[in-house]
Symmetry: C2
Subunit: 75 residues, 2 copies
């Protein structure tokens, strides 16, 4: 497993905020996005660098657009 990346961490925190705002558990989000719960966990901790297709599934599961999902995330 990679070590946390600052950019990915910022993204992960944002995902976590979006998830908690909707009172979802990681497990519920994982189910909706058809992703593994440990994968969600890794994303929220900034350990994963998801692909465009994964981002889209995540956005859909959270009921937000890709632009909302990546709000404030920059290099």
């Amino acid at each position: 497993m990679p070590s946390p990346d600052p950019v990915l961490s910022k993204f992960g925190i944002h995902v976590r905020n979006l998830r908690e705002t909707q009172d979802l558990t990681q497990e519920q989000l994982a189910e909706r996005a058809k992703l593994d719960i440990t994968y969600i966990s890794g994303i929220e901790r900034g350990l994963r660098n998801p692909s465009l297709l994964s981002l889209l599934r995540l956005a859909k599961a959270l009921g937000v657009s890709l632009k909302q999902l990546t709000e404030g995330v920059e290099l």
Copy 2:
């Protein structure tokens, strides 16, 4: 090499439009984004599924935000 994906193709076309609007060659964009030219080519043809970090580098190289880069891309 994978076959083109409809979602990735839409994204690739958008990248190509952004690039051509700025009169950049694939090579110039590749250089700016620090990505391989063949990889840029694959992205524009919908054959590649870039990671979040690559998307950010691409956005920066094109001088657009991530939201602009992914405009209209949905599952």
